[in-house]
Symmetry: C2
Subunit: 426 residues, 2 copies
């Protein structure tokens, strides 16, 4: 079967999956958890083979860390699935019930999006998580994982697919893609795929956004800022900046630029320079800051660079409004923080900065579905349509309008023979 | 100033507009309504000139009808603006307030999308409506209206812009584009424009979708179906089909195809054929239906044609599931109706048909923001992300996450020194 036929089958299965009850979908999730546990040795063996190939290919240590699927990861994914079964069913929620006129009732009800294509990094646990989230939300899923995890993913997919079928859910609700070339096929078929969620490097996400008519949820870059206001508490500012930069440098919510109000420069620059040095961070700073004895030369390019590394840039600003303008211009609308004890300044910053997350006195690294208490995360969106910021299950949900009538025609309302009589029933 | 500079100014003004209160925005709306009334003679004069040009250019009667801006339209737009001021402010609504841990509070709050580009037909009242909706929702707007209304639009825009400035809202929140060539400029600047709402022909909307990275809200086509179930009440079916086809043939929610359960063919085809003939509608029908004495030959192309004219196609189906498959395959996911007295059949149809609107026993022409009681309509979306179906003010709204801390860093939670303690405060 070619890719088009496979995608078409998924699209045809989508309404059938959308029509299953929350209990049926939860039963499938429990079956997946059990099957993964039962087949763990087969999965571990496939993962060992992937790890050996990665060793031969000279893959970096962090990539190998994400690639590894061991007892610990097994427990995590199984617990994750069990947590999901405990969440309320996101489907069939009535968001509005309105009588338009006698015997003419409009109901707005949640439903799945349909077919979701997820392209993700070489992390086998991601395959399990994404499948589980899509099943919970009643969406068909096309899964393309990083090639380094090919053998583990193939085994996991077989196990998941088997469990789904045995649990009684419709056929053809999951599709695995293995070859990189299939991605360009996936991007073409906007009649079969409703949403793409690409995770990975900036260049990759941008490639997807530019080469498909299918809507994309996600973010291509994360240039997060910390603005140290004149009323900042330096004792708070320094650990926050160090955490936001170093707690996980390759994350999209790591800070890349510090903006400092000129009135507080002398107070914060020396201890900040020292703290960054101790944390192994290279500081690239404006001339004014370097005159205070800290930092290497920065260029304009640094203002718009996502380092994803132990490097941070810093420059002074005249006032909070310059900081806001800088962030709205150079930032990626992901997550930006102000450090201040002045609640008016914080409120102004948080209203005017046009980002998914606007923080006061805490690390940008909190921008994450788990830390927001969403239970599970699909990704982080910097778009302003549909879901924004860390996206939980609700990002996989749409709605439809059901209108129940008794023979009504519009001609009667247009001519004035009848008139609407709106009444919200819930 | 070139287009890029103008768009950039809008983008910079967007946070300032987002920061205004509901009262300030309502005052601007009232000022617009007053200014339009005060300048009505100037506007009517410009409109008369547009109508004369249209006469010379041989523009069709329906287009001239939409182009006309008279006392009646004036009253409509002024009442529309006044209605808008009565709606609650869609901004600053707190949708979630969650304590993540002590002194670490996450707030999800609605905000505008930012800069919205609307490209609309030659209807001067549309310019007023769209400006008003954008101001109410705190969005900057780029307005490009149909060229036939150029003089009226220019006058209206001057009047509106003047009223907005006098009312004290920020500068540069509205931008008018007049030349068709500017559209391609608009499509290029995804860094300044957050959302496009194109209204117009299928080909035009598809062109916009294919030529911009900016998200698009709307629909390119409306192929709406009416399925007459075996348990249909023929007395209801016929007026509904006639209304759905003829009440306004060039609307996207007009019906294009009737699917008839084979068990009810003999009962419905003769009276339906007669009713359509009386309404001046050409029926193109499958062989089985033609054998019952009604209809012209239809081809496969008819299944996927949006006639926008007094033409309708009809074919028989084996059962409800064939109807559902047909609609999901050939339809445009806009609005589709079932005629049946069987509530189980209706429920199945409404669950499995993947359209923004799924109706029982009423005309597809009800798919409209005003008829849904939304007060005002931005457009109708056939996409499943963000807003779906008729879109009111809420389609112009996004949200942001505000996180209020007291120095928290993620390292403390990752190391286990601290742990999250999620508690919903509202």
């Amino acid at each position: 079967m070619n890719t088009e036929m496979k995608l078409r089958k998924l699209k045809e299965a989508a309404p059938m999956l959308a029509d299953t009850s929350g209990d049926e979908r939860n039963r499938a999730l429990m079956a997946i958890a059990e099957a993964i546990y039962k087949n763990r040795e087969r999965i571990f063996a496939a993962n060992r083979a992937d790890l050996e190939n990665a060793e031969i290919d000279g893959v970096s240590a962090p990539v190998k860390g994400r690639l590894k699927f061991d007892d610990h990861k097994l427990e995590d994914v199984i617990n994750g699935i069990k947590d999901l079964t405990g969440l309320p069913d996101p489907l069939f929620k009535v968001e509005m019930r309105r009588e338009l006129d006698e015997d003419l009732v409009l109901v707005k009800e949640t439903c799945p999006i349909g077919v979701i294509g997820v392209i993700f990094e070489a992390r086998p646990d991601a395959l399990v998580q994404i499948s589980a989230l899509c099943i919970k939300s009643g969406n068909c899923a096309v899964l393309k994982g990083g090639s380094e995890a090919a053998l583990t993913n193939r085994t996991l997919f077989e196990v998941i697919e088997g469990a789904v079928l045995e649990s009684g859910l419709p056929e053809n609700i999951l599709l695995q893609m293995e070859a990189r070339e299939e991605i360009s096929e996936l991007l073409k078929y906007d009649e079969y795929v409703d949403l793409l969620i690409p995770r990975g490097s900036n260049a990759f996400v941008r490639y997807i956004m530019e080469n498909s008519r299918i809507p994309v949820m996600g973010h291509s870059s994360g240039i997060c800022h910390i603005y140290v206001d004149k009323d900042a508490d330096v004792e708070k500012a320094i650990p926050i900046i160090v955490d936001a930069k170093t707690q996980y440098v390759s994350a999209c919510n790591a800070a890349e630029t510090v903006l400092i109000h000129r009135d507080i420069l002398e107070k914060i620059v020396p201890p900040l320079g020292k703290a960054l040095k101790e944390a192994g961070v290279e500081l690239r700073a404006s001339e004014v800051i370097r005159k205070l004895g800290e930092g290497e030369v920065m260029t304009e390019k640094d203002d718009s660079t996502e380092y994803l590394d132990y490097i941070i840039s810093a420059r002074e600003v005249e006032d909070i409004d310059e900081a806001i303008r800088h962030i709205n211009h150079f930032g990626s609308h992901h997550t930006d923080a102000i450090i201040t004890e002045n609640s008016e300044a914080a409120a102004r910053f948080m209203r005017l900065v046009d980002s998914a997350g606007v923080y006061q006195n805490c690390s940008t690294r909190f921008a994450d579905g788990y830390r927001y208490g969403f239970g599970a995360e699909v990704g982080i969106s910097t778009g302003k349509l549909h879901a924004r910021g860390p996206v939980g299950l609700e990002g996989l949900i749409s709605y439809k309008y059901k209108l129940f009538g008794a023979g009504q025609i519009v001609g009667d309302y247009a001519s004035g023979r009848k008139s609407f009589n709106f009444k919200d029933l819930i």
